[in-house]
């Protein structure tokens, strides 16, 4: 029944240049794939909500800047700078995903390490500059307390209310999507919008109190105090963007290239096991832990199976740096 098969022969209409670049492209597509897989309505909904978030975020910077100029509110400034950082980070993630999706592999010869370092560096630098800027303004404001511009504050309250409503809607919307199917990206997105809703509520409260009690001298301190609290949010938001989302993205990319190496090994040892029940991998520090669940022929001797296990372990260890590979005999599917 089985026909001897010569690779690359039967299929003439394909160029067969297999390069390391392809691996990167494949892994890149995979990232895109998990995040934006556009084949089912749910995935389209997911892609849409990321888009909407990015667009609303970027668009929101314009009225934000106007109200800062009019109101001189440090709290508003901290909020807008926080949002700008968020938009920047989202934009970088989005851009790299777009590039990956187009299969524009020529830019990725050096792997994702470069990309990761670059965009994290830019976001981190922007964050530090923004933080210094805000602290400078807080100090300035405490030294020379200033009443907020009335019209600017009123405008700020209106725009912030819109921002609260839209981020609350996105929070609810994404939370709903995340519950319908488990996806780490949607999980982190709805949490992000939750934080955004809360922090914008803080801005609203700060502006509202400042405006309501503008006849009292102490009201001048409400705004700088609000901005101190918000700068905490700024640090937290950007930190979580850098550490979780972007890292997640690149971790998953690495994950996919690992998977291909593991699959290659499983193909090489195809006749030595009965079934593949699962592959798990995780990173801790600089190490990669891989657990492969294989079913073996129950009639075979343990010593033979041990030989197979040891050989696969040795082979995979030599291919993946700092890896700890465990091949675990299993009778039922895991994961």
């Amino acid at each position: 029944m089985l026909i001897a098969q010569i690779p690359g022969r039967e299929q003439r209409n394909c160029s067969q240049e297999v390069s390391i670049r392809t691996l990167y492209r494949v892994t890149a597509e995979k990232v895109m794939d998990r995040l934006f897989a556009c084949t089912t309505p749910e995935h389209r909904a997911k892609e849409q909500s990321i888009f909407i978030g990015l667009a609303l975020g970027a668009f929101g910077l314009i009225p934000g800047t106007i109200t800062i100029v009019l109101s001189h509110s440090t709290t508003l400034m901290a909020d807008v700078l926080k949002n700008a950082g968020l938009v920047l980070a989202t934009f970088f993630a989005w851009m790299s995903i777009r590039k990956m999706d187009r299969g524009d592999s020529s830019n990725y010869n050096y792997g994702y390490g470069k990309l990761e370092n670059l965009s994290s560096f830019i976001v981190a630098t922007a964050m530090i500059i923004a933080q210094v800027f805000i602290f400078y303004h807080i100090i300035e404001r405490f030294a020379h307390p200033e009443e907020l511009g009335e019209m600017g504050t009123q405008l700020g309250i209106i725009f912030s209310s819109i921002a609260v409503l839209s981020s609350a809607w996105l929070w609810k919307h994404d939370h709903h999507l995340a519950q319908r199917e488990t996806s780490p990206m949607m999980e982190s997105l709805w949490r992000l919008y939750r934080i955004k809703t809360i922090s914008t509520l803080l801005v609203l409260a700060s502006l509202g109190i400042s405006l309501a009690f503008r006849d009292h001298t102490w009201a001048a301190y409400i705004d700088p105090i609000g901005s101190i609290i918000l700068s905490g949010f700024l640090i937290f938001t950007i930190y979580s963007i850098i550490s979780s989302s972007v890292y997640d993205l690149l971790d998953r990319t690495l994950e996919e290239s690992l998977q291909l190496i593991i699959l290659r090994e499983l193909a090489a040892y195809f006749s030595d096991y009965e079934a593949l029940h699962g592959i798990r991998s995780r990173r801790s520090g600089g190490n990669v832990h891989i657990e492969i669940f294989l079913e073996f022929d129950g009639e075979r001797k343990m010593s033979e199976i041990q030989k197979v296990i040891n050989s696969m372990q040795a082979s995979l260890s030599s291919r993946i740096n700092n890896s700890h590979i465990f091949i675990i005999p299993a009778t039922s599917p895991v994961c």
């Binding site: 029944m1 089985l2 026909i3 098969q5 690779p7 690359g8 039967e10 299929q11 003439r12 209409n13 394909c14 160029s15 067969q16 240049e17 297999v18 392809t22 691996l23 492209r25 494949v26 597509e29 995979k30 794939d33 998990r34 897989a37 084949t39 089912t40 995935h43 299969g103 996919e256 998977q259 291909l260 699959l263 290659r264 499983l266 193909a267 090489a268 195809f270 009965e274 079934a275 593949l276 592959i279």
Partner: protein, 112 residues
Amino acid sequence: MDISERQKGSVNVISLSGRLDAYSSNDVEARLNAIIDSSQVCLTVNMEKLEYISSSGLRVFLAALKKVRKQNGDIKLVCMRPPIREVFDIAGFTQLFSIFDSEDIAVDSFLP
């Protein structure tokens, strides 16, 4: 991901179109398992319209191949696009699967 099924003699021809990724691989796996469990072990998979395959997709094929080989069957792959073929090459799967350019030749190859 669209999965369609046809019968050509004793051979089951499965056509995949779209993206076989982490999301859709569960569906494909369930479909393939259902076919194999009904003792149809001579499978031809037409990949003409398959745009993309991830490691999850490869895993599904590996598991399915294990199952059909055990029952003296096989999986023949047909009309792979170059990027898909590259992924199969990288994963060393071209050594495991018989790959054909034409569906008919693949189906005929099951004949003794």
